[in-house]
Amino acid sequence: DGSETGLGIDEEVKIAKARKPVAKLDETRLLTPAGIPKLRRIAKTRVKFRGKGHEFSDVARLLNTYQLWLDDLYPRAKFADGLAIIEKLGHSKRMQMMRKQWIDEGKPRENTEQEADE
């Protein structure tokens, strides 16, 4: 009954030190500027290929680009682990909407639309 009448001043306040939350690789992180938007920028500006006869070196360079990008985005995970996490995220409704949108942005605009805009 003492606890009811008192204001709780006498009770010792216990401080449980909260664990520092571990950074997660989730949709939010993937959609920050360092995530997919950066990858799209890279794709447009920095990916260069040498073409015929250099298939393996071209792909190796491409893979390196992904690895460095992922290392910047989420340094904690190894490359393969990070890829697995991202692939799984891609199944969500929201990500699928976004992916569709990104692709549509890249599509050549259809004639009818252009005419309507003009």
Binding site: E55, V59, K78, L83, G90
Partner: protein, 725 residues
């Protein structure tokens, strides 16, 4: 004394004292016989009492106390085997002692395989001791000094076998089963992998040793007598024979069994050469990148990143190799993605019985081969027909593992039969009549029903056995279609019609392939093989039969129909309807339509199926030539025949392909399939590079599995023209 104290602790001292007393009552070495064994005056009664101890004490209380005491008292080696050894060949009067010995032996050698959930403290306490002593039993049974124990045991049931079936009574029928159980137990005992060995060589209890003993003591003849008379002279022994045969042949390669000695030796030499070559390549791979100076040489390099940043990597192995330094950056990360811990996990850990390859010696191989040949000639049809009937009727004696053993055995013998045919190719063509019992409609119904059931129940081990069986049947049918006999051609055509006519069969293969997830390597290997063989045969078949029809079943939606009816303004009576009519409406509607291989193939090329084959390809360094070829053909089909390369453009898959060719630890360059793979990967990469240049949005999509809606655009660069209805 510490030892005695601990002994008292394991089993109740009174129990121990009583059992020891009984064991000494059985008999012992006698001075008047120069130390030879002499049965006690109450021998038979003592054996009966010991049997009762196992039943009324151990089994009733679910403990292992009596078994433990009998193991300590050396009952098997000291008494039972001696009694059996003394049993004279020509005996006139009736003797119950050998039979009592047999029942005790069967109980004591029975495999103790408990599930973790039902293990009690008592089991944990006694199991290691008993398992080790069982190894001793096996050794003593196989290598007895003076007598042929196995042969003696078979003699117990000879009076029963000598009688025609209608004269035999129940007890006599069971004598035969007891003997079969004994043989199975002898086959199944092996040194538990988690227990210490006594330092000796285990070759005297290996499969080869058992096969040798079986051959010498005419056990094979006994087995053949039973199997060839199965269904007529013997019926209730079918599952017992099945178990014995299963444990006899599991893990043995039927192809190798039928190889000529010289070819086998050269095959084995090739295998060894291949392994040495593999090891050399592996070591060379390390040596190429090994540090050339001592390990405290202290090298550190910068990897330049964008925005003027750098990462540091240490170690001289990364010098002068950008690729290496990136790999090392990745390798030194400490965090690992937590692994999925599902209920399948345990199955992966536990290997299937037939998953473990068992090598046998040259002479054992010869003996087993002659058994297998005799079996194929005389017993295949009677045994497997009888077993099919028992399984269909779900007899009490059919346990849950019996269907698994049945399908495994069928697949094994089919493979053996094909190997035998291959060997005797030069001789005159034989009919496939010897194996007709698994090529009839009844067998297909059982196989299909079982497969569907195990898919639904998620019993992966059983499903794996069914798949092996189905694959072997397909391969056998394929071989039949190349036969020179008119009759065989007809039958093969007929079977293919039946298999490919039902659309449910097609759907099931796809469903199985899709459902792979953590079931272990055996399942992965089996399901990809089935898919490979099925697809190839179907392709060939649909080319020959251009107007192939399939029967598909669709459930009509009753509700939909009702809604349509009520909209049409029908009266209430009709909506409520009488149940009979509803049944008719809701019934499964069967339709026939033309089969389109391309469309069917496209259903194979979906992401889950591709993931399964990627999982197979990930193990590339452990795969054999066939498995590598299987994966190669599949990816080739995906990328070039079906033009669905876009499904392969995923970073982890591309990385895998790159790794297979360019390393680290690439495919061995001397493998014959290396060139094929290199070409395939090169072509895929070429297209990928082109696609990424054309459509930069692919860079993002490469992270994910593709959405069906956007797949067509990514592949072709324009949307599919969809006709509006």
């Amino acid at each position: 004394d510490w030892v005695i104290f601990s002994k008292d602790n394991t089993v109740d001292p009174h129990v121990r004292a009583k059992i020891y007393a009984k064991v000494s009552e059985v008999g012992g070495p006698a001075i008047e016989l120069d130390g030879r064994y002499k049965p006690g005056p109450e021998c038979e009664g003592a054996l009966k009492d010991l049997n009762d101890w196992l039943g009324a004490y151990d089994e009733k209380r679910n403990v292992l106390d009596a078994k433990r005491c009998m193991a300590e008292a050396n009952l098997v080696k000291g008494d039972l085997l001696e009694l059996l050894a003394q049993w004279p060949e020509e005996e006139t009067e009736k003797n119950r002692i050998p039979l009592r010995c047999l029942t005790l032996l069967v109980r004591l050698t029975h495999t103790l395989d408990f599930e973790d959930a039902v293990m009690k403290v008592n089991h944990h306490r006694h199991l290691p001791y008993i398992q080790l002593s069982q190894v001793g039993y096996k050794r003593a049974i196989l290598h007895h000094d003076t007598a042929h124990i196995l042969r003696t045991v078979v003699r117990i049931c000879l009076p029963a076998i000598a009688q025609p079936r209608h004269v035999r009574n129940d007890r006599m029928e069971h004598y035969i089963i007891w003997v079969l159980h004994f043989l199975t137990n002898v086959l199944t005992i092996s040194r538990p992998p988690n227990l210490p060995s006594d330092g000796g060589d285990d070759s005297d209890i290996a499969r080869s040793a058992v096969i040798e003993a079986f051959h010498q003591q005419d056990i094979f003849a006994f087995l053949l007598t039973l199997t060839s008379g199965m269904g007529e002279d013997y019926t209730i022994q079918d599952t017992a024979v099945l178990e014995a045969l299963f444990h006899l042949i599991k893990g043995i390669d039927p192809e190798k069994l039928f190889m000529e000695e010289k070819i086998l030796t050269s095959a084995n030499t090739d295998e060894l050469k291949g392994l040495i070559q593999k090891e050399k390549a592996m070591l060379a791979g390390y040596a190429r990148h090994a540090p050339s100076r001592h390990n405290r040489f202290g090298t550190m390099i910068w990897v330049k990143r964008d925005d003027e940043r750098v990462s540091t990597v240490t170690g001289q192995d990364v010098l002068g190799n950008a690729q290496k330094s990136l790999q090392k950056m990745d390798k030194t990360k400490k965090w690992n993605k937590p692994k999925h811990r599902g209920k399948n996990k345990e199955d992966v850990k536990r290997k299937n019985d037939f998953d473990i390859k068992t090598p046998i010696t040259e002479s054992a191989r010869k003996h087993l081969r002659s058994l297998v040949e005799d079996f194929l000639d005389s017993s295949f049809n009677p045994l497997f027909t009888q077993l099919r009937r028992s399984i269909e009727r779900n007899h009490e004696r059919v346990l849950s593992e019996h269907p698994l053993q049945y399908f495994y055995l069928v697949s094994w013998f089919l493979q053996a039969e094909r190997a035998r045919r291959k060997r005797s190719k030069t001789q005159s063509a034989e009919s496939f009549g010897l194996i007709a019992s698994v090529l009839n409609q009844e067998f297909f119904i059982l196989l299909n029903r079982s497969m569907q059931r195990y898919v639904d129940e998620k019993s992966w081990k059983h499903l794996s056995a069914c798949m092996k069986c189905f694959t072997q049947i397909l391969l056998t049918v394929q071989e039949m279609s190349a036969s020179s006999l008119e009759e065989d051609l007809d039958i093969s055509e007929n079977i293919q019609n039946r298999i490919f006519y039902e659309e449910t069969n097609h759907d099931r293969v796809i469903q199985i392939l899709k459902s792979y997830k953590d079931q272990g390597f055996d399942y992965l290997d089996t399901c990809t093989e089935l898919a490979h063989v099925f697809l190839r045969m179907l392709e060939q078949y649909s080319k020959q039969n251009i107007d192939l029809q399939v029967r598909s079943r669709r459930r009509t939606r009753r509700k939909k129909k009702e809604a349509a009816q009520s909209e049409g303004g029908s009266d209430a009576e009709e909506i409520n309807g009488d149940p009979d009519q509803d049944m008719v409406v809701a019934q499964i509607v069967t339709t026939e339509r033309k089969f389109d291989f391309a469309r069917f193939c496209a259903r194979f090329m979906t992401q889950p199926c591709i993931n399964t084959f990627v999982a197979l390809a990930r193990l590339y360094n452990d795969l054999n030539a066939d498995q590598l070829k299987r994966a190669h053909r599949f990816f080739y089909r995906v990328a070039f025949k079906m033009e669905l390369g876009v499904t392969l453009y995923r970073v982890d898959i591309i990385q895998l392909f790159n790794r297979m060719i360019k390393g680290p630890d690439p495919l061995d360059k001397d493998l014959p399939s290396f060139k094929e793979w290199e070409d395939l990967v090169k072509q895929i990469f070429k297209r990928l590079v082109k696609k990424v240049q054309e459509r930069p949005e692919l860079m993002v999509e490469m992270l994910f599995s593709k959405i069906p809606a956007t797949m067509f655009y990514l592949e072709h660069g324009y949307d599919r023209a969809v006709s509006t209805r």
